[in-house]
């Protein structure tokens, strides 16, 4: 795992996140997520982190179960100062 990367399932709500890698347990799910727009390099925002989670990519919203969301690695777009506090 790259530095600063974390699974989408443990990312902060409402923050803009860049998708670094999409690798789920099964290859067909990886491809499915990419086809839906959860693609490396895109910006995603978490709207709800229950199970299933809700996230937004561009104008589209998805419900995503946590197990799958754990296969999506993201990094925060802007470093959050509030985090240090």
């Amino acid at each position: 795992m790259r530095m600063g990367c974390l699974p989408l399932a443990s990312a902060q709500l409402g923050q803009d996140l860049r998708i670094r890698s999409v690798k789920t347990y099964e290859a067909c799910h990886t491809q499915r997520l990419r086809e839906l727009g959860l693609l490396e390099g895109r910006t995603v925002r978490l709207l709800s982190n229950h199970d299933p989670m809700i996230c937004q990519v561009g104008e589209c919203r998805f419900g995503l179960c946590r197990r799958i969301a754990n296969g999506v690695l993201v990094e925060p777009l802007a470093p959050l100062h509030s985090r240090i506090a």
């Binding site: 491809q31 499915r32 727009g37 895109r42 104008e59 589209c60 197990r67 799958i68």
Partner: protein, 524 residues
């Protein structure tokens, strides 16, 4: 254009029926549009061998165009039966369905990029295509502006704005489809507007040549078909007539993986999305003000961990109360009517076998079933209201967690709920669940739910066995329902753990805004 003018234009070739396939993402308002274009004179069936619904109907007016509703899908790469059927039909490979003369694409304008993913895959298959940009009212509400002319020229197909529930844009869609079907001279094959890496392009050309050679697809769709094949799992099953083609695709995928170190499916998806994003950025004038809409706030409550479940319990409680309270007087009338009929038979027919057969067999037997008609009607009315208001998608979303604990999908919720009216429509509704194992489990446990025909039995037994007050009786009744539900969940859990064990699966539920009247109907 009036109907008679249209008929006159079609006069020379009036014997010919033009087939038009309607394709789009799930929940893009395709079914609403299909209904508006055809006026509910549908022929519904299954595609041979798979539980994928096939709906056909003629276009409104005196039109020789026959619309075929394809399943709602996100991609044309064949990974589920829905996608495989759609791809086969569009390539003219389906056993009993002719290749369409044209395609009507339906896209949700509020999620344009994702909708264009499928649209571009279909456009690349080279059939005359018309793109209906649906939900334009919601796009406007959000403050965005879409340049349809620019979108049309970028994609190379006519684009028509529509608002499905209001029937807006239907005449324009019809005229475009008629024009697309009637254009005799086939336009020259379009060049794909986006490119892959050099090595990938070389492989695509080779696969496309093989595709043409083997008659898998014609010249116009070869490039698009090759792209689809490359993005699929290329393992051929036993007896696959296209085994040599699959093998060639598999080799190409391996070569590319060695060369680039990256899965070719990733490159295909990423390049296509990069191109689409550029188009959407070019055509869509986004409102700067990202207003938190009323929908967002409603959504926050409806999908909340605590409030959402409370709302859900309230809605379900109101639904059951409504079903029983509203249906009771109607059931009373029906039972009175049956009693009257029985009295008439007693009075008019002389005693004997025939009278007993008519009175106690036919009338009493059929009557016992007919008496539940009001309950079933009212339940279905409520279900339709919940779906059209968009609440059903939220409910499925809320239920997904619970359902996935017992190994079911959020979508199993609707069949299981419908089974409370009658297990048969409940089982019918299970067809919307994509995973065959989930579908079978749902079908197997649906009859464990207390259907309305068991209600009089419960009532009778409770009244006979328990001398309690009305509240306690209602409590016992509630427990009976609860028992059915718990049993169903336990059985589902056991089935998923033993006979129907399968690998973990993805679930992605797609939420449309609440209050949009364009939810695709997913119950049977």
């Amino acid at each position: 254009m009036t109907d008679s003018q249209a008929a006159a234009r079609f006069a020379p070739c009036h014997q010919r029926v033009f087939h038009v396939a309607v394709a789009g993402n799930p929940n893009c308002g395709k079914t609403t549009l299909f209904n508006a274009l055809t006026g509910l004179r549908h022929k519904v069936g299954n595609y041979p061998g798979v539980t994928v619904e096939k709906r056909e109907a003629n276009l409104f007016g005196d039109s020789p165009i026959r619309l075929l509703d394809l399943p709602g899908i996100y991609s044309l790469s064949a990974r589920s039966p829905d996608e495989a059927i759609s791809q086969d039909i569009l390539l003219g490979r389906a056993a009993d369905t002719p290749r369409p003369d044209a395609v009507l694409l339906v896209a949700d304008a509020t999620a344009l990029e994702r909708n264009l993913f499928l649209a571009s895959q279909i456009i690349e298959l080279g059939l005359p295509t018309v793109l209906a940009c649906n939900m334009m009212d919601l796009l406007k509400q959000a403050g965005h502006q879409l340049d349809l002319d620019k979108l049309s020229s970028r994609l190379g197909v006519p684009v028509i704005p529509t608002i499905g529930p209001r029937g807006q844009g239907m005449n324009a869609v019809r005229e475009s489809l008629e024009a697309a079907c009637l254009s005799d001279a086939p336009s020259p094959p379009r060049r794909r507007a986006w490119t892959l890496s050099e090595s990938a392009e070389r492989e695509v050309r080779q696969i496309a040549a093989l595709v043409r050679e083997r008659g898998y697809a014609d010249e116009r769709s070869a490039d698009g078909a090759a792209l689809l094949l490359l993005s699929e799992d290329s393992k051929a099953g036993d007896g696959d007539p296209e085994a040599p083609l699959r093998l060639a695709v598999h080799e190409a995928q391996e070569r590319l993986a060695r060369e680039c170190g990256e899965d070719v499916t990733f490159e295909l998806t990423a390049r296509r999305y990069a191109w689409l994003r550029e188009i959407v950025d070019d055509c869509l004038n986004r409102s700067v003000e990202q207003k938190r809409s009323m929908n967002d706030r409603i959504d926050q409550v409806l999908t909340h961990r605590v409030w959402g479940k409370l709302c859900f319990a309230l809605v379900m409680g109101a639904l059951f109360y409504g079903v029983f309270a509203l249906a009771e007087p109607l059931m009373g009338y029906i039972q009175e009517g049956i009693g009257w009929l029985q009295n008439q038979i007693t009075a008019k027919v002389s005693p004997g076998l025939l009278r007993d057969l008519l009175r106690d067999g036919v009338v009493a037997g059929v009557g016992a079933v007919v008496a539940f008609f009001p309950q079933i009607c009212i339940l279905f009315l409520f279900l339709a209201l919940l779906e059209d208001s968009g609440y059903m998608a939220r409910a499925a979303f809320l239920m997904n967690r619970l359902m996935s604990r017992v190994g079911l999908h959020g979508k199993s919720f609707i069949p299981l709920l419908s089974s409370h009216a009658c297990a048969i429509p409940g089982i019918l509704a299970a067809r919307t669940i994509e995973n065959p194992r989930d579908r079978l489990t749902t079908i197997l446990v649906a009859p464990l739910m207390s259907c309305s025909a068991r209600l009089p039995v419960y009532t009778l037994l409770i009244a006979a066995a328990l001398p309690l007050g009305a509240t306690a009786k209602a409590g016992v009744m509630f427990t009976m329902y609860g028992l059915g539900i718990v049993t169903a969940f336990v059985v589902a859990r056991v089935l998923k753990g033993t006979l129907l064990r399968g690998p973990a699966r993805a679930s992605s539920l797609n939420c449309r805004p609440t209050g949009s009247r364009t939810c695709d109907r997913c119950s049977g």
